[in-house]
Amino acid sequence: MTILTLTTLVFTGAFTAGLIGALTGLGGGAIIVPLLTLGFGVDIRYAVGASLVSVIATSSGAAAAYVREGYTNVRVGMVLEVATTIGALTGAFVAGLVAPSVIAVIFGLVLLHSAWQSLQPRVEHITEGPSDPLAKALRLDSTYPTEHGPQHYKVQHVPAGFGLMYVAGVLSGLLGIGSGVVKVLAMDRAMHLPFKVSTTTSNFMIGVTAAASAGVYLHRGYIDPGLALPVMLGVLCGALVGARALPKLETRKLRLVFSVIVAILAIEMLYNGITGRI
């Protein structure tokens, strides 16, 4: 295959991944690595490097819009970024120590969990009681815009959220994904942030988290310009188109379809990892 053909095909695949990622809110990162490794036979280290770059592009692009709308909690983001960046550096170093097939197996397991998690209904946990003392000391409680004006919310269980964020960072650095699922878990379930706040703050942090591991990947030579180019531009264009189409679509069915695709990719990754083909 010539570079021109590969670039065109990878761009098309990455565009689709970015589009579906934006429509379902799960991000395109989860599909890029399986697409490159299973579909194009790319070495998983190049695939993870290219995926990380695309994750930075989409999250920064989307965060630019969200942060202006006032949903993002910048202070919560900054505090939790300490955990995700340490995690991301850990993940990136571990990625250099373990065999590619081990990464493929972990990737498969995380994908399976993401597929299952995205089908679960999200339950809003708004607490009436007092906030976590740490949230008070760090002034994490804030407000977000609603139809009826600014709504106040209190932040709970900061240490638990911090711990889960470290895990999200490790997975991000190891697998080249945004780990949005784990981040939202930490902020919805543990810290009781409203949906809009946890989704946008998670997205705000993904760029910084991925940048922490991308530096390590760059120095290790895992980021190939020829491959990162179509992946980054494809996912970015797909995400932009997806964000525009989003308000007009029924996303529940889309999530179901996406979860099935992700589950199939997960099983493929597991099979190829276990049999040592990756």
Binding site: M1, F40, S60, A64, R75, A92, P150, V208
Partner: protein, 130 residues
């Protein structure tokens, strides 16, 4: 304290949010533009060469260190230009953290200066030494 009607955030906080939004947008746009320019040159020069990503070789120093990339860009090497675009993209969230640090320092919010400082330090370590 006067609050903005929509988000309920303080005006000073809202100005920081607006600036961060603009910074991220410009960073992504510049990075994408550089990458597209390098990519066009790359395809024009090597488009019909055989692609080989099945076997991992790593990258030469020219494409894996900041000094090497800058030297490559000076020679107008297409791969180095694409890589520069990627480095600019990685630098975008880093610039955001640095700006947040400055904004907290201007408001004498030392706890948050420390927190952003830790994150900034980790990012610089990764980018320069990682």
């Amino acid at each position: 304290m006067a609050h903005s009607p929509e988000s309920g955030h303080a005006p000073a906080e809202e100005r920081v949010e607006q600036f961060i939004g603009g910074l991220l947008r410009i960073g992504v746009l510049i990075a994408a533009a550089v990458t597209v320019a390098g990519g066009a040159a790359l395809l024009a020069r090597h488009g019909f060469a055989r692609a080989d990503y099945h076997v991992f070789h790593g990258q030469p120093a020219m494409l894996s260190s900041l000094g090497g990339i800058i030297a490559g860009v000076a020679r107008l090497d297409p791969r180095a230009i694409v890589q520069l675009g990627i480095v600019l993209l990685i630098a975008t969230p880093v610039a955001r953290v640095l700006f947040t640090l400055v904004a907290f320092a201007l408001r004498r919010d030392w706890r948050y200066v420390l927190i952003s400082g830790i994150v900034f330090g980790l990012l610089i370590y990764s980018l320069l030494a990682g």
